[in-house]
Amino acid sequence: MRIELELASPSDLQVDMGMLSPSKVLSLPPGEIEKLTVLVAGRPYPLGEHFKLTRSEAGVDELVLFGQTRRIVSAGRGMDAGRLVINGEAGPFTGLEMKGGELEVSGNAGDCLGVAMCGGLLRVRGSAGDWCGASLPGQARGMTGGTIFVDGNVGLEAGAGMRRGLMVVGGNSGESMGAGMLAGTIFCLGRLGPGAGLELKRGSLVAGSSLMLLPGFRPAGEADPEWLHIYLTSFRRLGLTYPHVWDRQPPQRFTGDHLVLGKGEVLVYDILE
């Protein structure tokens, strides 16, 4: 079944949908969905007052949000199953603490996409803001599982504090990507922003290009691309594209950040002068 919710209320106020998981919405009978609570500017309202609902039969069970979706905050918060599609731009905290299922955004996503995520698949066709897949304020651990694909660029501190999981950014990253990473894997197919891997303890950052890395990183020659090929093979099977040169040429490897534990690595295909 496919349920479409169109946000069409005449206002600019943010709508917090963090209390609605797709599997819960899809399990409710007609008439009950409109009674669910959403927070508009922090105050509770029945969902039916702000959204227009359409129900249709479809091959896959999914909840689709469209309309003024940029106003929606925390869509898919803590979702553990099902499929949520945001047709348009997603507001901040989309996929916050996501545990499972699949969340797709057809446009750009705001800040804090997939923060503290621990499972599931989050795919953004556009770009994402700052702190993508990072930790909640005051916490050391960011993503602890799951996968984030962002086709465009990401803002600063993407993957900060990452403990486990996979992030693939099709474009460029902002400052300090993977800062304080504890483990996990980040691919930035474009250019890595300055300060990448600051206080990286373990884990891998793979980038298409980068300026000189932070002084805590030591050159370690050419990487053995064997494990990378497992990822690239998986990307090909998912239909993700990456520069063809990655299949032929091994990246340069830098270990670090040696100012902390130093068991991490940054792999760069093209070092920019």
């Binding site: 999981g165 996979l166 894997t185 494990w227 497992i230 093979t233 299949d247």
Partner: protein, 298 residues
């Protein structure tokens, strides 16, 4: 029953459940993958002495392997999951890890698993690292030509071991030619191996011996030089006998391979084809030669 004038005995091969694992070995070239796979199957001919029977499966193209490199499948069998786990650890660690450019992946999804990568990683002496992709953990062990990548867990399934054919020929050359043709046909069936050297065994055994501490001894009933001293199974025209042992991922695969082997072996110089069993008292799988030829027509 006769096929191409070769007598096919109305008997059956008695097969047993065995623990099985499938490895996918990759390397920079098909030759290197084959070399590593061959090393991994060394001295794994008979469960009696080696506790493991192993053989090469299909050569794999780069789109059939997890890392997009050419590969080689390997099947390993043992009498228990615990023993097989020991062999996986030993063979991956001692044969595949040292092989140039190699990587080793699990090729069998099964409920029961063996922890191999999580033990072998200690060879990295603290420099090892892991990657988790789609719920599957890979270990990266630094070695002198880069990194050895292997799965953390390997599936331990239940296969079928002990499928067999005994080929009786009018001379040694003809029997061997028939046996080699049968091996080629058997190895064309997916999911089976013929573990003996070249797939052919010239020393069929029987359980027990007149010497204590010897678990198996030569099957005198099939030895041409003993025909005057034992209750021989050989008619006067038979000059040489070869055995094929066939293990597989399923009873169906073993049966199909036996049928293909029988057909390929029926050629000039072959007199009779039979199979070994223990009267049906030991193994739950009874692979009747006549039924197999009916079920799997050529």
């Amino acid at each position: 029953m006769r096929v191409q004038d070769v007598l096919i005995d109305d008997t059956f091969a008695e097969a047993f459940p065995m623990a099985v694992s499938r490895l996918v070995i990759t390397a920079d070239s098909p030759r290197l993958a084959f070399q590593a796979a061959q090393a991994a199957t060394g001295l794994a001919f008979s469960i009696i002495g080696c506790a493991c029977e192993a053989g090469l499966g299909a050569a794999l193209s780069s789109d059939q392997t997890p890392d997009g490199r050419p590969g080689q499948a390997v099947l390993l069998f043992s009498y228990s999951a615990e023993k097989l786990e020991e062999h996986l650890f030993l063979r991956i660690g001692q044969a595949i890890l040292p092989s140039a450019t190699s990587a080793c992946f699990n090729g069998l999804q099964a409920e029961k698993t063996a922890k191999v990568g999580s033990r072998l990683r200690y060879f990295g002496n603290g420099f090892q690292s892991s990657k988790l992709l789609d719920g599957r953990r890979y270990w990266r062990i630094p070695v002198a030509d880069g990194e050895f990548v292997l799965d953390e867990m390997y599936g331990l399934g239940q296969g079928v071991g002990g499928g067999n054919l005994i080929l009786l020929g009018s001379d040694r050359a003809a029997a061997l030619e028939a046996a080699e043709a049968a091996v080629a046909a058997v190895c064309g069936i997916p999911g089976v191996i013929a573990p003996f050297p070249g797939g052919v065994c010239r020393s069929p055994s029987k359980p027990g011996s007149r010497y204590k501490n010897v678990r198996a001894s030569t099957n005198d009933a099939f030895c041409p030089t003993l025909r005057s001293r034992t209750a021989t199974q050989l008619s006067p025209e038979v000059k040489a006998v070869y055995e094929l042992v066939i293990d597989g991922l399923s009873e169906e695969a073993v049966g199909q391979a036996m049928a293909a082997g029988i057909r390929a072996a029926c050629r000039p110089g072959m007199l009779r084809i039979t199979a070994g069993n223990y009267g049906g008292k030991l193994g739950p799988y009874h692979l009747h030669l006549h039924k197999l030829l009916e079920t799997y027509p050529g």
